[in-house]
Structures are given as structure tokens and as C-alpha cells.
Symmetry: C2
Subunit: 150 residues, 2 copies
């Protein structure tokens, strides 16, 4: 069976839900190669007290381990929120083929919102698909911040 | 005794030398708070087979551990080569106060060369000092690539 983008985004959404359960801003990611999830990650910045512990970074680290190399050129990365500068840079450095994201991030998004780093003259240019399960991804973030204010 | 930028850059250069000894592109970094080196790192991408293992990332990870938190707002980061998109993003995410670098990177540098991410509308804007021990930093990289071609 061949899965579609919505299927893989729902796996990223599950990861984001786990972040929320642990009191973290709910962002989740997964990395897919040959129609198979090879790595997952969710935001753990507060849990790990580590500025690097974004969902995408943890997934990339795991994917490098799984594949035994740093070039993820046959992989797609699915993430519920548009990647920040650090994560977009990490995606470029890891030669990831394609970025699929759900909700836009008007404050820090570097795949179209604040800027589009994939179109800058770096040595690798991932393709971008945005807006996959956008409403679910947005709703999850909104709910989290609403609960936080209560 | 109060140390100057050249002193801390010489520590980053020592780290870069260690990278070269291990067959890695020689880039080294250190993080300084209150006139003291609290973390160091050197490029280990091939050794670790990890796309994230740049000098700055490893130093930031160590600094978060040393300080027990992800906000490095009282820290300066010294690095021999201008930070790439990922590392500049990580520096912004970690709220590092100041970036000091040696050699420019015309292909991937995001602190003035390809772009200046510290001037984009993100939520933190590190100050930049460039060109510290620039010749030594450049010479080390040139030597490494010359030896590689032989």
C-alpha cells in the first residue's frame, strides 16, 4: 500500500500530541523513505533544557543513525509546523529531498513565511509542500496555548 | 585577567585543528560566558555520520548542559568559519548574545555572506563581530583542502 501525505502528517500529529502531553509546545515530525517512517521526533526543548531539541532536529538525528550516514537525500520530512531557521538549515544540510508541513509560522517560519531558505543559493534545495492537514495542526497549537492561559 | 576576542578565537582554532587531525573539515567553536570558556566543539560530521554535528551545534549542546538551561543569553559564540543556516538558526534559538567569527563563508554563511539572518525579523538578534584572526582561520581551511587534493 502506498500512503499519502495526509497519512504521514497524521503520524507527525501523533508526535505533537505526545509533546503536548508532556507540557511542550506541540510540534511533531517524522521522516519517510520509500513509503516508510524511519524516524520520528517531538519538541522537547523544556524537557531536555536544550535549545536544539526541536521535533525536526531529533528526527534528523534519529534518521542519520538508522541509515548510518548523514545524507538523507531520499527522505521526506513531515512536520506539523513550518520549520524555523535552525531546522530549515538542518534539513538543507542533511540533503532532505522534500519538506511537507501543516501550519504556517508567521514569526519564525523559513519555508515561505518570514523567508524561504530553500530558494536561497545554498547547495541544496528541498521541495516544499505546505498546508497538509493545516487545520488539525493549527487547532492543536491553539488548544495548547488556550489551555496554558487558563 | 580579561581576555580579548583573539584569545577566545585561538581556542576555537585549537578545536578546528583537532577536527583536521581527525580528517574533518577544520571548523572549531567555543562558547564564552563571563570571560570564561564554558563549552567547545569541532566539526564531526563524518566521524559521527550526523548532518547536525557542526562545531557550533556541539558547543551549544554542551553549553545548555553546563548551564542547565536552553537560554544562553549571556554567552558569546566564537567560531573559525561564518555559521551556516542551521547554526545561525541554532544561535538565534539559544538566544546567544554575540557571534564572533573568523573567515567568511561565501557559499553558506548566514551572518553577512549569503544572507544575514540576525537582521531578519526573528525574535532574537545576536550582534556580530567578523574577521577575528581571519587569516589564520582561512589558512587552516586552505591547508586542509590542499592536503586533501594531494
Amino acid at each position: 500500500m502506498v500512503y499519502d501525505d495526509a497519512y504521514f502528517m497524521s503520524i507527525a500529529l501523533e508526535q505533537a500530541k505526545e509533546a503536548a502531553r508532556q507540557g511542550e509546545v506541540p510540534v511533531g515530525a517524522c521522516i519517510v523513505q520509500d513509503n516508510q517512517v524511519i524516524a520520528t521526533g517531538y519538541n522537547r526543548r523544556e524537557l531536555d533544557q536544550n535549545a536544539l531539541a526541536h521535533a525536526e532536529i531529533l528526527a534528523i538525528e534519529q534518521a542519520c543513525k538508522v541509515l548510518g550516514g548523514w545524507r538523507l537525500h531520499r527522505c521526506s520530512l513531515y512536520v506539523t509546523l513550518e520549520p524555523c531557521p535552525m531546522c530549515t538549515g538542518a534539513i538543507i544540510n542533511a540533503r532532505i529531498q522534500r519538506i511537507v508541513y501543516g501550519a504556517k509560522d508567521s514569526k519564525a517560519g523559513c519555508c515561505g513565511s518570514v523567508c524561504n531558505m530553500t530558494a536561497m543559493p545554498f547547495n541544496h534545495h528541498p521541495r516544499i509542500t505546505s498546508g497538509v492537514l493545516e487545520e488539525e495542526c493549527m487547532a492543536q497549537l491553539k488548544e495548547f496555548f488556550k489551555a496554558l492561559r487558563r
